[in-house]
């Protein structure tokens, strides 16, 4: 149903009809699949990369200036690419790895390549916020670098790391919608193919609603978990 042909409220009402959701619902699953898989990959590799970057940074527990510069530059290069360009750039990589450059799995490579560096920087930021004195206290007790990272830095920064992940997750959701335009399917695909190309504005409304709900859930869950931890530690 289009706004061009039907009255406003008719279109809005129709956005909640079975007809629309029969098409939208499977796309929601596609999107959730892509988001979930990319999120897990981003979480694991982003935290590892973030730890690595903090450890070798100038003020880290094991500074390695040359490697730090190199890694920092690569991360910044990856972060320079807008999501859309990253998707195009990683298409050949997806074809080489998966045999096809379209579909949900192909898009996950682009999502990961884009979001891992972004999340790694957020994790690094979370580590920087730890008061230096705590790290020094651990050093003064004779902790090894590994003990400092895994027993002190990671647990101390976990609320910020979770908040950062909320930001990354929302980034992933928005990028997934964009990837729909490049053959990844999902909610973005619906919005473009039906909502934009064919003026099915009821489907557009449904897609927008789905995205809003997803982002709200991500944000609320992130805040909730992070606040629970802070409250347990009596920090708020």
């Amino acid at each position: 149903m289009s706004f061009l042909k039907y009255p406003f409220w008719e279109v809005v009402k129709h956005a909640f009809s079975k007809e629309v959701w029969d098409t939208v619902f499977p796309a929601v699953w596609d999107t959730l699949y892509m988001v979930a898989l990319s999120a897990v990959i981003t979480l694991v590799l982003g935290i590892l990369l973030g730890i690595g970057l903090s450890v070798i940074s100038k003020d880290g527990v094991r500074p390695v200036p040359v490697l730090n510069e190199t890694a920092g530059t690569i991360v910044n290069c990856l972060r320079s690419l807008p999501s859309m360009i990253m998707i195009i750039v990683t298409l050949p990589l997806a074809r080489a790895l998966l045999g096809q450059s379209y579909g949900s799995n192909a898009c996950i490579i682009a999502l990961a390549a884009s979001c891992i560096p972004m999340y790694a920087r957020l994790v690094q930021g979370a580590f920087v916020e730890i008061p230096k004195g705590k790290i020094e206290a651990a050093k003064a007790m004779g902790s090894s670098s590994a003990a400092i990272v895994f027993h002190i830095m990671l647990p101390e920064a976990i609320p910020s790391i979770i908040r950062g992940f909320t930001v990354a997750l929302i980034g992933i959701i928005s990028m997934t919608a964009l990837a729909g335009n490049f053959g990844a399917g999902g909610i973005g695909d619906i919005a473009v193919r039906f909502g934009f190309n064919r003026f099915y504005h009821d489907m557009l409304i449904a897609s927008v609603l789905v995205l809003i709900v997803m982002v709200q859930v991500a944000q609320l869950a992130g805040d909730l978990i992070s606040n629970l931890i802070l409250r347990k530690r009596h920090l708020i």
């Binding site: 004195g133 705590k134 003064a140 007790m141 003990a147």
Partner: protein
């Protein structure tokens, strides 16, 4: 008895945009075993840098540090980490780990040396009793007052039975009452456990109350040192004199009742 902790000609400079700032200019210290040794001076005199050079949180530019027969400045990274396990340190900002309970904070240094679980439990309980916080065992540092946090800090510093305790302005962030109780606790620790304590402070009263000897640090050099009573009775250095002046000025303020001696 020879000095237990010695520093010899310690130099340390910091660079700020190529501007050289000499913080320590040839510090010679000798501290006997079992002493509570105060290092007093104004902000920026180099007190913290000096104490941090002793466990090499700050690397001295030149000079040597000995504790017992070990030359700290000659240790490699691994040996230093090993030795640090027996050097306790308390900080002005407590530096407790917010992610751990009081129990876990105190147990952390014990875990570093792979102490069996049962022994950790017993040791932590003993330390909690010593610092009077047995009822806060499972509390998080975030819920404690400043004085309580510093008690945990002290318990944590004592967990591995150190022979030396470095106290970097341990009472400077506390209210007068907590300051007194922490000072008493440090004195008790020194008496009961025989730990040598180096205490950095800018509070004359704190040094006067528990230190057996003090050194006055002024612009990176030690201007005078000796028995606490001698120094405060007849200060030779300008810092010492100003300290005493300020002290007399505030004498009528009876927050500290430990007085006497002057």
């Amino acid at each position: 008895m020879g000095a237990y902790i010695r520093t010899e000609n310690l130099y340390k400079s910091f660079y700020n945009k190529k501007e050289k700032n000499d913080v320590l200019k040839g510090i010679d210290l000798s501290i006997d075993k079992g002493d509570i040794y105060g290092i007093v001076g104004f902000s920026g005199a180099g007190k913290s840098t000096l104490v941090r050079c002793i466990n090499r949180l700050e690397e001295p530019d030149s000079g040597k540090v000995w504790i017992g027969d070990t030359e700290i400045t000659a240790l490699n990274k691994k040996q230093l980490a090993e030795r640090r396990k027996k050097i306790g340190m308390v900080f002005q900002q407590f530096n407790l780990f917010d992610s751990m309970t009081v129990f876990q904070n105190i147990a952390y240094p014990l875990k570093l040396v792979k102490t069996p679980k049962k022994e950790i439990e017993a040791k932590v309980d003993k330390l909690l009793k010593l610092v009077g916080l047995s009822d806060k065992k499972y509390a998080y540092p975030g819920s404690l007052s400043g004085g309580q946090k510093q008690r945990v800090g002290i318990a944590r510093a004592l967990a591995n039975d150190p022979d030396v305790l470095l106290s970097d302005e341990a009472t400077s962030a506390l209210d007068p009452q907590s300051t007194l109780s922490i000072l008493d606790l440090l004195e008790q620790v020194n008496k009961e456990l025989g730990v040598t304590i180096i205490m950095i402070t800018h509070e004359l009263e704190a040094a006067k109350r528990i230190c057996s000897k003090v050194a006055v640090l002024e612009n990176g050099s030690i201007t005078e040192s000796g028995k606490t009573s001698d120094i405060f009775l007849d200060p030779k250095s300008s810092t010492g004199k100003i300290f005493l002046e300020v002290y007399k000025e505030f004498r009528h303020d009876d927050t500290f009742t430990g007085g006497g001696g002057i």
